[in-house]
Each structure stands twice: as C-alpha cells, then as structure tokens.
Symmetry: C2
Subunit: 664 residues, 2 copies
Amino acid sequence: MNKTTMVIENVQPLLDCGRYAVKRVAGQTMRVTADVFKDGHDVIAVVLKWRPAGAKAWRETPMKHEGNDAWSGVFSLVAMGDYEFTIEAWPDAYASWREEFAKKHAGGQPDLSSEALEGAHLLEAGAKRAGRRKGAKELRAAARELSAADRDQAAALAAREDLAALMAGYPDRSLSAEFRPCGLVTAERPRALFAAWYEFFPRSAEGLGERGSTFRDCIGRLDDAKAMGFDVVYFPPIHPIGATKRKGANNSLESGPDDPGVPYAIGNRHQGCPHGGGHRDVAPELGTLEDFEWLVGEAAKRGMEVALDFALNCSPDHPYVADHPEWFFHRPDGSIKYAENPPKKYEDVYPLDYHNADWRALWEELKDLILWWAERGVRTFRVDNPHTKPVSFWEWLIAETRRKFPDLVFLSEAFTRPKMMRVLAKIGFTQSYTYFTWRNTKSELTEYFTELTTHESAEYMRPNLFANTPDILPFFLQQGGRPAFMIRAVLAATLSPVYGIYSGFELCENAALPGREEYLDSEKYQLKPRDWNAPGNIKGLVTALNRIRRENRALQELANLTFLPAESDQILFYAKATPALDNILLVAVILDPWHAQSAWVEVPLEQLGLAEDETFQVHDLLTDERFLWRGRRNFVMLDPHGRPAHVFRVRRRVASERGFDHYE
Amino acid sequence: MNKTTMVIENVQPLLDCGRYAVKRVAGQTMRVTADVFKDGHDVIAVVLKWRPAGAKAWRETPMKHEGNDAWSGVFSLVAMGDYEFTIEAWPDAYASWREEFAKKHAGGQPDLSSEALEGAHLLEAGAKRAGRRKGAKELRAAARELSAADRDQAAALAAREDLAALMAGYPDRSLSAEFRPCGLVTAERPRALFAAWYEFFPRSAEGLGERGSTFRDCIGRLDDAKAMGFDVVYFPPIHPIGATKRKGANNSLESGPDDPGVPYAIGNRHQGCPHGGGHRDVAPELGTLEDFEWLVGEAAKRGMEVALDFALNCSPDHPYVADHPEWFFHRPDGSIKYAENPPKKYEDVYPLDYHNADWRALWEELKDLILWWAERGVRTFRVDNPHTKPVSFWEWLIAETRRKFPDLVFLSEAFTRPKMMRVLAKIGFTQSYTYFTWRNTKSELTEYFTELTTHESAEYMRPNLFANTPDILPFFLQQGGRPAFMIRAVLAATLSPVYGIYSGFELCENAALPGREEYLDSEKYQLKPRDWNAPGNIKGLVTALNRIRRENRALQELANLTFLPAESDQILFYAKATPALDNILLVAVILDPWHAQSAWVEVPLEQLGLAEDETFQVHDLLTDERFLWRGRRNFVMLDPHGRPAHVFRVRRRVASERGFDHYE
C-alpha cells in the first residue's frame, strides 16, 4: 500500500531509465521537465532535487507549471562532475485552502467561520513543523488571528503572500512522492563541447632530418595552429613503434631499414626506453618524455592543449607481450595470435584479450595508462577503434579515470554501426567521430544533422566533425579541389561546436591512392615534408572560421541548428541562434565545388524574433560585407572559388540617440 | 568492473522503465524487440526470457536478428495473469568459430590445424557443460574427431548443423548480459479486449410499477441485449439510495416522497437491509440479493455477463457514516463535510478521505467490496470517477483483487485531462472511457484515433467507445437525429474492439435539457417507461454491427486501424486488417447526418496485399451487396438516411476447380 496521492511521469531528460548520464558542461544550467499531477483539484507543490552523484543531501528548487500537467525546473551545473536529479511533489494543503477560501468568499458564501478555522489549523500545523525555525511565531500568530477573524478579515489573511511563503518553507510532505529512477547528468569542462582540433604527426612537423622531426621541432606547428585559432593539437600515437613485421610506405608488407613505421603498431624491444617501453613511453626518434612534457607546456602557454591517441594495439615487440603473455589470445600451441579478419592477416598487431583469466589486471593497467599521461598534463584522448573493445570496459575506464581527473575528454573513433556509435557516447565518451565525412549532398547533410541535433542522442553524443583524417581523404575532397576544402571547412566549423582537421587539409592536399579514400604516400607510413604556407592554402578561411566561432555563442551549441528552405539543391541554408536570440547566425554554403549557384532563401522571421516588415542587416563575418534584408524571402549567390559561403550575423536596427539608426 | 561484452538496449515494449505492464489477452502472443550487439564481429546468441510474475524459473526462446542490430522474439500468453520478461545475450564462441573457419577454408588458407584444434577445445568445453545430459558424448566424439581431422574433414565437421544445435543447447554464458529492468505484460481475458456493452437501469427495464421494475423484470432487457448481440449488460449502481437530501427529477434539490433518487447517492438507514446496507446491498425496490444473483445467472446462460458500477460515493445515510466517521472529511466542529466545488455544494454526497488516520482499513474495506461482488459472479466493474481518488489506491486495489480473481475487468470512467486518463490505464484499468463522444469531424476523429491506436498508450489503454451515457447526450445526437445515431453506432462499433451504448440509444432518444449535453427527464433522477421497439429504432443496425464484429477478427484488435484518403471531409474511410491479411475490412462512414455525400476513396493496395491491376470484391456486410473494385481509386456514395456506411469485407478472386472464379 502506497499512500502517496501524486503521479510523477515522463521525467526528461532520462537516458535508458537513468542508466546513463546526459552531457552538459560546467557553467550551464540543467533544465528538467516532467508530468506531475494528482487526483482531484488540489494545488500541488513540485520541486526539482539534485546533488553531486554519491552525495547524501539533496538541494532543491521549485518547479513551474507550464500547463497541461507539465512542469519544468532548472539547476546550475556549477562544477565539473556527475549529478543526479529527481523530482518530489506533494499536495499543498495550505495553497488549496487559500484558493478555495478565496472562491467561497468571492462567491458570497455568508458563513466562512468553519473554513477560517480549517485555515487556522493548517497554519498551526505549519508552525509546529517550523519548530524553532524562523517564522514559526508569525504562523502561530496568524493562526490565532484567523480563528477569531470575521469573514473579510479571514479573506485578507488567506490572501497574505508572506504567510503563504512562510508556509511553503515548512511543507507537509507526508503524501509526497519522489520519482525513481534518478536522472543523471555529467558536467564536463567547456572545451568538451566547444573546441577546434588540429591533428598532425610530430615526426613530420617540419625541418625533417633523417628520422623526421622531434617534439622540439613542433613549436612552429603549435604557433601556426594557435594563429589559425585552434584549441587542441592532437597527435597520432607518439609511442615507440614496433620493428617486427613493420609496414613500409603505402602500407606495404615489406619495410626497409629507414621506414619509420606505423605509429599504431605500438611497442619496442625495451632497448634504452627509460620507462619500460610500450604505451608509457615516447618514441626515441621524437625525443624524450621531458621533451614531450615541454611541448605540452608550450601548448598550454598558448591557451591550447595536446591530445593524445589512445590506441590499444600492441606490436609483437610490446613489453606486455613478454611481461603479460596471458593478456593476449593464444593458439592451441601456446603462441600468441595476431589480428585477423579472414582472409586478411595483421601480423604486426597482437590484439588484447579483454576477458583473459587475468582480465582485471589488464583493465587496471590500461586505466593506469590514462592516469599516467594525465599526470603528465594530457587531459584529452582520441580513442582508436573503441568499438572493437568491450563497451563495459570503456564505461568503467572513463568513470574510474574521471574520478581522479574530472576534466578528462575522450573522443570516440568508432566508425561503425549507428547503435554502437551511440552507446559509446552514452557510456561516457565526450565526443564522437561521425559519418560527416561522407555526407555531402543537401539531403544527406539535412537528414544527418537533423538526426544529430534533434534525436535524443543530442543529449549525450557530441559530434566532432573531422573534415579529414589520416585514414580518410573523402572523394569529395579528392575531386572538388580547393573549393571542396573550403566548403567542408565551413560546414564542419558551423554545423557543430566541435570540429577538427588533419594537417594538410588547410593546404588542400588531395593526392589519393587510386579509387580509394586514402592518402597517397600517407604519413601514417612515411615521413612527409610540407611547405606549411604553400600557395592556394585556405589558412585564411580556417582562421576566420575559428575567430567567428569564438565570437558567436550561437556556434558554441549543438542542438540550436535549424535547416531553412533554399530553392536550390546546391545551397544549404541554416540558422544557429542562442535561446535569447541575441546571437543569430544565418549560414549559406554552396555544395557544388564547380559552379556558381544562387537561390532564394527563406528566413523564419517569427522564430528569430523578427517582424514581418522589419529591415535587418545580414553581416557576412567572413568578408565583413553587410546587406539589408527584409521579409521572409531573400536572395543569395555563391561561387565555389571566391565566395563559397555566407556566414551572416543578423543585426537588428537600433534607434540611436544622436538621430541616426544603426544595426547591432 | 562488469565483465560482460554485450549491450542490450531499447527493449520494447517497456512502460515507464518497467514500472507498468502492457496489456494483452490470454491466447495472444507477446512480441518483444530490442537492440543487441557487442564489440567486434563475433556471432551472438540472444534469448527472450519470460515467467509468470513472482515465479523463479525463466522460460526462454531464441530471438531473431532483424538487421541493424535489432532483434525480435515472441512468447505465448497461455493463461491470464502478469508476466515479466527480459532478454539475455552472450557471444557465441562456437558459432563464431564455425563462421571464421568456413571463411578461412573457403579463402584457401592451407594450414587450418591450429583452427581445428580451437574448435575441438570449444566442443570439449561444450561437452563438459552438458555433463551427463543428452549430447555430451556426441560432442566429445566430435572434439576428438576434429583434433585429428585434416583441412577438409575439419570444414565438414564445422559445417555440421547437428553439432551446432547441440552446442547451442549448452552455451557458455560467462560473458552474458541480462537486460534490467524487466518488462511486464498483463494477460487479461479475451473479453477485456473485445466486447460490446449495453447499459440500462434495472428500475426502468420494463413493466414499471409504482417503484419501477425489479431485477426479475430485467429478463426482457437481457433477451433483447442478447438478440442485439451484446456481451456485457452494465447497470448503474444497484445499491440502496440515500434519503437525506435526495435529489428530485432533473436533478432538482427538492424531492417528493415518490422520487426514486439518484443511484449514485449510495446508502440507506440500515432498515431491513440484510447485509448491513451500503455497497454490499441491493436497493430493496429492485429485489433481493438472491434476485440479483439469479439475474447474473440468467445473463451467464445467455453467454453474457453483468457489469456493476463501482461508485465510491456515500450518501449521508450510508452505514460507513455511522460506523466509520473517521473515514470522512471533517469540519473543525467535528461534523462530516459534504462534497463541494465552490460555489457548488453536493449535500447528498459525503466524499471519503483516502488519507484519513485509518486509511488502511478504508482501503481494505473498499477492496473487499470488489471481492464480495466478485464472489457473487460479478467480474466486470465500471468505476465511477476514478480520477478523484488516489491513483496509488487504484493500482493497489486492482492488483490485490486480481490476485484472487484474475478475470476482473475494470472500466475507468475518467473524463479528465489526458495524462490522468492514461495513467489510470497504465496502473491497471482494463478499459477507459475516452473523448470519443465529442469527436465528430473527420479531422477530430482521424487525429484522435491515430493517437489512440499508434501512440505508446495503445499498449495499455483500451478505449471503450460509449456512444452515449446517462450523463452525456452529445449535441451531435441531439441535432442529427436518427442518421446521427446510425453514424455514431458504426463508428463506435468499428473504431475500437470495445464499445457500448446506453439504452435508449437504439431508440434514437435525444430529448435534451436545453443547451446542455444532458438528457431531459433523465432516468438518473426518475423512472422512465419506454417502448423498446418504438418505431424508427436502429436495433437492426446495432444487431448487424455486433454480428459483423464477431465474424471479423480485424474488428477485434485496436492497433490495426489505418485511416485512408477520401476526397470529402464528410466521409471517413479506414481499413482494419489482421496481420496475415486474411480478414480485411474497409469502412466508409458518412459524417454529415443531413445530406448525401460521395467521394473518391483510396485503397492502399500494397499494404493490403492487392496487386495493382487486381479486381477484388468489396462485400458490404451491412447490406450483403457486392461490388467489384480495381486499383487504388474507387468511388463511394453514402446517404445518412438510407446508407450511412459501407462496412466492406475485401474478398479476393480465387480460381475454382470447376471452371469459374469466385471471391472469398
């Protein structure tokens, strides 16, 4: 028998019955909604309760009735960490009494003495609940007054808001209900949501010697990334590279003595590695661990950070192979199995067995790798192929490492089926690679980004839009040349608050292996010298985009994207706006990398708070040009070579004191 | 640390995280779907598990992969009662080995001896799990064979389905995951889903004496309801009616000595009531409890049942008032409060206080009322205004009484806000009154019934479409006359598997209080003599509709409704079809009760399994007329007086052996 009289339902957001947390960043507010009601017509009180996960005491704040039994409330995510929240509701007898008393009084009911006495009893009970706390005396006095009051005096007492406020402070919760399960939210650091990433291979940074460049040589890249406006510089694995079965240029099975190897084949023969080699070490050709830490510090000085690749691949030379053969898969003859995807064999990589007899030790060791690098200043990890390891492993590793370093950021590189991609985000990955790289047409982009920004997954999956990666040189970039790079840069930088490019993108590098989406002479397999200021580069555009992103809060959120009508399949038109509509961007991007295109585009005036007949200014933040627009339908003309996009900020006319108007 | 490698998500149906049960009826199957997957490319095994709620042992059945990581499974609801279900999944190492072995063999890998040994180890482990059970020997023998097999012999062994089936019987579940929370389903009796109700006041059944008719006089109504094809006869409260503040005709505050009173003001002064009066007794003017039980038996003989009204209202004369004054609300002076909705007062009714100090005793007593009547053969209750009592009270009462009588049916009369209406269905009410009575236009009907049949609520809320009630004589019936009654009869009988009429509907009674949706001279307040075969009645149509419902399984389900295009706002066109498409109905109903209307209507050929150029017969089950239709667009013409609807059964051409075709 459950005595409560309240119903609390449809609490939002709530992922998988409270199994997973939604994501926010510290400093944001958390809005919670629910349906709350009871039988009959009593007034009810509804509060939103929250606490850091694991804490005992709840904090609470009243929720607001939005109509139709829907309630909403908000709390602030002051610090990073996990929070749980729930909703409690109860019938508010005093508020109901006030309402009924006022009705009867207004209706002219002559004798209200019994009703007044009821109110007095409620006030008395409130005073009793208050005990020695503030207001008890006032409540008791009011109770006395009410029990002796005439009809109008009683009505005046019932109307007193100060008494109502006091009573609300000492509610009778004996018939309250609390929603279960609790909702969960993780507040990460702001850069988890809003950041621009720049990926490069330290060994090809510049000034290539025989063995490539070193950490100390990376300072130029750092400065350049900073000048372009990036926040995160991300390195593919920097660990010692295995020698056994090392791959050569263009992934050939044979390698020569000068081939630098694939950074993803991690491991070495211990020789001269001060930290025992493997994932705790840096490749000697890049320098020392001290050099790396120096570079991390240099990035920090520039307001940037270094992200590392967390690639759980072991070369046959990895120290784990010798020290913990039990962590790998074995053949019946006892030898360790290399990776296979029949008929393909990957003899340079030994996969780990996450369910070996000693699995706990393995999991602890892998967790310790994150902690070890975090202690050296690395707080962002791009995780290689997480979908080939148990989801429960990642859930545990992320939770455990965050316990010590709540600012850890994990980017999931799961180019796999949608449900796996999503569940990795649910269990804790901060950001996710997406299918963006392969979405090029208007319908593809519209459909995919409508999904990414409006599906429930927008609560927990943050797309990190990499325009290219060392593994993916999309056909669109191969074929479309420099205009294609500009188009994809604008899309990546404006469709999601997190995006990235892999170095060479800004130089419009697009030499591919024939018929494949892979780079020719990929620097995964060989050193790659470059002129970082090669003619035809689009560093200016990238720099402008990163500046515009920083200056416009509308570009710093994910779910505020609205696709708008444009009467051309080759022009994508969309709005990004802050909830208060004090920062509104309208972005028009050409999708055709070859021909100029024009279109009538439609501005959703009401949605943006614009009047039907209002003249407003659209200020192109890329070129600083300003145009006056009016009404719903307006015209844009784009050219893939000269003007591949407008990134308009909407500026409204403001009357000035000095007699002329301006737009701001 | 959670070692499992499986992810199980999005289990459907699952109401409010397993807090509530979905509804089915005994004899139906229960289909469950989920997303199930793991890291990597292993073959996985997924089973659906179910058990009667409270049982220890699960039964299980394999689920089927539907693509994109979606799985489905089915179990049978053999008996009435609550069932819980969940899903368990694990990596199937032997199936993965078979798949990989076959690939390597087909790919021409020369040496597969190590792979064969792996398979042998798996078979050996399977034999060990089998222990002394069937198949252990075969598995062990196969293991020995495999460890000595050459390449092709091993491939042949790997391909053996009998071994795979044996291995599937002894799976290694060490890495399995089981979904939590469990899903819940309640299997009710078939009449919970499919029934036609007929409501009448026993005191106005016929042959009215001074005090109206008695239970013994109801036999004619029973026969008539049976002849019309009804399954349930439902009586407004049959208990003794309070004398204090008794209401007179047309709800007047004054009543004369001959006024029979409102059956909803329940209670008496104990005088001569053999069972202590109140809700356990029958009004003396209707006869004795034995008479009532006789009538219940007569209904049963006719294949029908009697439904009672469960109205928790007490008149001031109710025995509870004297015996349990603590169960009511009190004024400060100690007197019992009557019902109020300021400025209105209902002095003939005392509301119960469900949270009084002795609330457990009250709840138990109210539960015992249900059990008491159930023991007297009543298994169906129409519950009056459940939304004015605590939801948790109903949840408890329904669960507790069902424990003893799993065949209990509760109809919720909650004409209130949608969320309250739904939650009452969620917590256990079998059927619900709806807003149907006030949905008349094409857009209203389409929108509302799309919601009722496609929203998640279709899993638990069964609309019982009453076309009228003693409380509601809709304006549409008042104004539209006989055609309106015919229209509403067809809609009610075909839009939901459960529907009902309140007697007088079949006689097209529509005299109303001016400007209100209430009956003039309502028999709620007075006796009402009728000619049950009055001219202009629509008993023929009602009889036909009930026959058609019984003969066509497509009308016995809720969620199989599809609205179809008709090029007129005054014609509603819809399909009801069985999943196997062996019973397809197309219903066209005129919505205009005054003028003939015609429309081109569109038949969704693919959805109904009809070929583009196929000629099919539409057989009007109301008139027995048959028409040949072909293609998507067809024409209907309806007339509110003569032919307000077509209820077509689609009959397909079948070639006969004797040389001519027919439609069946």
